[in-house]
């Protein structure tokens, strides 16, 4: 063959090869499996709409959605993993991070995503998405706790303002409680939710923080709620019981039925309160900062958040992270993110992104949500550490025993603290 021909054949081949490569990779179909706890029909539609929007932009990416109720989400995640059937993308409760991370279950996000999280969310939320000095995903809804109160009951007892410190709390609570002559408690000034770990421990932690206390030591080596501040917090419950400000025959869940004066609860309860026929959302539901305790100087509260994360064994981690970043980024200048839209329209929840909060500022000037949004700026995240779930349940059981009158504040701390420290140590050693 002559040289010219050889060269032209080779150049033709070269062009074909170089030209063909991007074509094939763009056409490789990718399916991402997503696991969430949003199974209701309209939520399915909302999620599918977002998937469709993304597929329109990236035609080779399609999605499969798996949903289970929240109570079973953790079990589903574990079971899928044991058989190697894990999804690509999770929507996780941040308390599960320590465990998932130390088991090597999660993929490390790209720097681009990490930078976005730090730039767009408040420090408390960043902390709530971090474990072992690494951010593990993109935070979505953030929840904090504040003092909810029934304005009508407070006014009937002669109070126009909610309590700002613990002494006032005890006084107002005891004034609201009414017991009839057969011993039935008609209404009660303050209530707590029992039978559910977050329901018991989160309000406790909020009060603790507002009393200048800490849940864990700064280095996460030991618990710190066995301090004087912690003791005072438990003693607050004792005082409330003694002065009849609280009575265990009325459960905190009953607040929407209008027979409870005050309760410490999270913002996601909004939908229930709006739907209640016994308490008027607009005029009777009040929201106030957590009252400050004797050893505290300013109000504080606890927050927790959810986040999107990617499985370590995923076949397409880059594509998965790309989707998550797109999901949580503004659609355009001054616009909200697709995730922000879902959180606001479908849930009335608070998005982590500050720009989303700004876009929906009108909605969040609602008398209920505004204080919650404001509290995300100073809320302290639930500490993420190995063993935190067990410690939480331990604390829950003992606080419930205290509330049932079966033990006292000091004994609770004397028992829980050493056990909790042992658990912390056990998990720390196992992680090494």
């Amino acid at each position: 063959m002559n040289a010219k021909r050889v060269i032209s054949v080779f150049s033709l081949l070269a062009i074909l090869i170089v030209g063909a490569v991007p074509l094939t990779s763009a056409q490789e179909p990718i399916k991402l499996t997503v696991l969430t706890h949003w199974g209701e029909e309209r939520l399915l539609n909302a999620q599918q709409a977002v998937f469709d929007e993304y597929t329109a932009l990236h035609p080779n990416v399609t999605f499969e959605l798996i949903t289970v109720p929240f109570e079973e989400l953790y079990t589903k995640i574990i079971t899928l993993r044991t058989a190697g059937e894990s999804p690509d993308i999770y929507h996780l409760y941040n308390l599960w991070l320590p465990e998932f991370v130390t088991s090597g279950m999660l993929s490390t996000p790209p720097d681009e995503l990490v930078d976005a999280v730090v730039a767009n969310t408040s420090p408390g939320i960043v902390e709530g998405t971090t474990f072992a000095d690494q951010i593990w995903g993109y935070p979505t809804e953030v929840n904090t706790y504040l003092l909810l109160y029934n304005k009508r009951l407070l006014e009937e007892a002669g109070y126009s303002e909610p309590p700002s410190n613990w002494d006032e709390l005890v006084e107002i609570a005891s004034a609201i409680t009414q017991v009839d002559d057969t011993g039935a408690v008609k209404q009660v000034g303050f209530a707590v939710i029992t039978g559910w770990d977050s329901g018991v421990v989160h309000p406790f932690a909020s009060l603790l923080f507002s009393n200048g206390g800490d849940y864990l030591s700064d280095d996460y080596m030991t618990v710190a709620f066995d301090s004087e501040a912690g003791l005072e917090t438990l003693q607050l419950y004792e005082r409330l019981l003694e002065t009849r400000g609280m009575d265990m025959s009325i459960s905190g869940w009953d607040f929407p039925t209008g027979n409870i004066g005050m309760i410490i609860m999270a913002n996601w309860w909004r939908a229930t309160l709006m739907a209640s026929e016994n308490i008027d959302y607009e005029t009777e539901v009040g929201v106030a900062p957590i009252p400050v305790g004797p050893s505290g100087t300013e109000t504080s509260t606890l927050s927790y958040n959810w986040l999107w994360a990617v499985d370590q064994g995923s076949e397409y981690p880059e594509e998965a992270w790309e989707f998550i970043l797109w999901l949580n980024s503004p659609r355009g200048e001054g616009q909200s993110s697709p995730m922000g839209d879902i959180l606001v329209h479908e849930f009335g929840a608070i998005p982590s992104n500050i720009f989303d909060q700004e876009v929906y500022a009108d909605l969040y000037s609602d008398h209920f949500l505004a204080p919650f949004v404001a509290s995300t700026a100073y809320a302290r995240p639930e500490p993420l550490v190995g063993g935190s779930q067990e410690i939480k349940t331990l604390l829950q059981t003992e606080i419930e025993a205290l509330l049932s009158g079966m033990t006292d504040a000091q004994s609770v701390l004397d028992y829980v603290a050493p056990e909790a420290n042992a658990i912390l140590e056990e998990f720390r050693m196992a992680a090494e």
């Binding site: 465990e99 057969t182 408690v185 025959s249 025993a401 049932s404």
Partner: protein, 306 residues
């Protein structure tokens, strides 16, 4: 009633063929159970000697020997309490159910009008959603507006905490369990009563026996296999009670209604300590096995006797 086959007889072709069919009949059911039940149980036993949080692969589980067992018996504060509660629940629930089930089955089997209607009505709690039952019972037993407390107050007695009172909650749960499963046991006893030929009663009446004697000498003995089944399965079930407690109290208040299986579930799926949960499972298994063997011997399972 049996044609005994003494071992000294040579195994004829006939008997060998019958044995073949016996094995053929049990082959698939038993094989299935081995794969889907027994195998997993043995795996669980193996896991109980390790620490496993289910997120790390099985082959990386650290071996810890009997440490899990040691923990639950010496250092776990909840386990002994759960054991005690479970036993109370099982003894109370089973004895009441067995007696009431038979009593109502007899009533419903006798000459009354509209038997079908009665049976359907009595069976309704069994098919009512457990959530609905939990809600109704919470209403009934509520301290402040519940029906029961209203009745107590009417006769001048003080209000009771019931499900809120650590000393009473467990007994309320027993009542709910009896309520919910009464229908099951009535239906089983009814099926058993059908198997007793009317001729025996006719003959007895001819001999001059009264109703009580007929019951004691005919009904009860012939119901023995059914009664055995009822007691054994009811015990096995009661010692493993979970759904009821999970749906109502979740072990509260202060672990006074915490049962073994609920504690096991929390240990496995809340704390991710599958090794420890498996150790509890096997301890419970040993207890149930012991109790069942005792029951089978006491009630003299006659299926293998003359």
């Amino acid at each position: 009633m049996h044609l005994t086959m003494p071992r000294s007889w040579p195994k004829t072709g006939l008997m060998r063929r019958r044995m073949f069919w016996a094995y053929a009949f049990v082959a698939i059911p038993v094989l299935w159970l081995v794969v889907f039940s027994l195998g997993p149980i043995l795996f669980s036993g193996w896991v109980s000697l390790h620490q496993w949080n289910m997120l790390t692969p099985v082959r990386d589980m650290p071996y810890v020997g009997l440490e899990n067992y040691e923990y639950i018996f010496t250092r776990d504060r909840v386990f002994p309490l759960a054991l005690k509660n479970t036993f109370k629940f099982a003894i109370g629930g089973v004895s009441i159910n067995v007696v009431l089930g038979l009593a109502f089955a007899l009533l419903l089997n006798s000459k009354i009008k509209g038997r079908t209607v009665w049976r359907v009505l009595y069976f309704l709690p069994v098919i009512t959603s457990p959530i609905a039952l939990a809600v109704i019972f919470a209403f009934m037993f509520n301290r402040n507006y519940g029906l029961l407390n209203s009745l107590l107050v009417m006769v001048g007695l003080p209000r009771q905490g019931f499900l809120n009172d650590p000393n009473q909650a467990l007994y309320v749960l027993i009542a709910i369990a009896v309520y919910q499963y009464l229908g099951y046991y009535i239906v089983i006893y009814l099926a058993g009563l059908q198997g007793i030929p009317q001729d025996y009663y006719d003959a007895a009446r001819v001999d001059g026996a009264n109703s009580w004697q007929a019951f004691w000498h005919i009904t009860l003995p012939l119901l023995r296999p059914v009664t055995l089944f009822v007691i054994v399965t009811n015990s096995i079930g009661a010692l493993q009670v979970f759904d009821l407690v999970f749906a109502t109290t979740g072990g509260a208040p202060a672990n006074s209604t915490m049962t073994i299986v609920l504690h096991m579930y929390n240990t496995a799926f809340k704390f991710s300590r599958m090794g420890r949960a498996s150790a509890m499972a096997f301890t419970l298994f040993a207890i149930i096995l012991f109790i069942t063997i005792v029951q089978l011997r006491l009630l003299r399972d006659r299926t293998y006797e003359d």
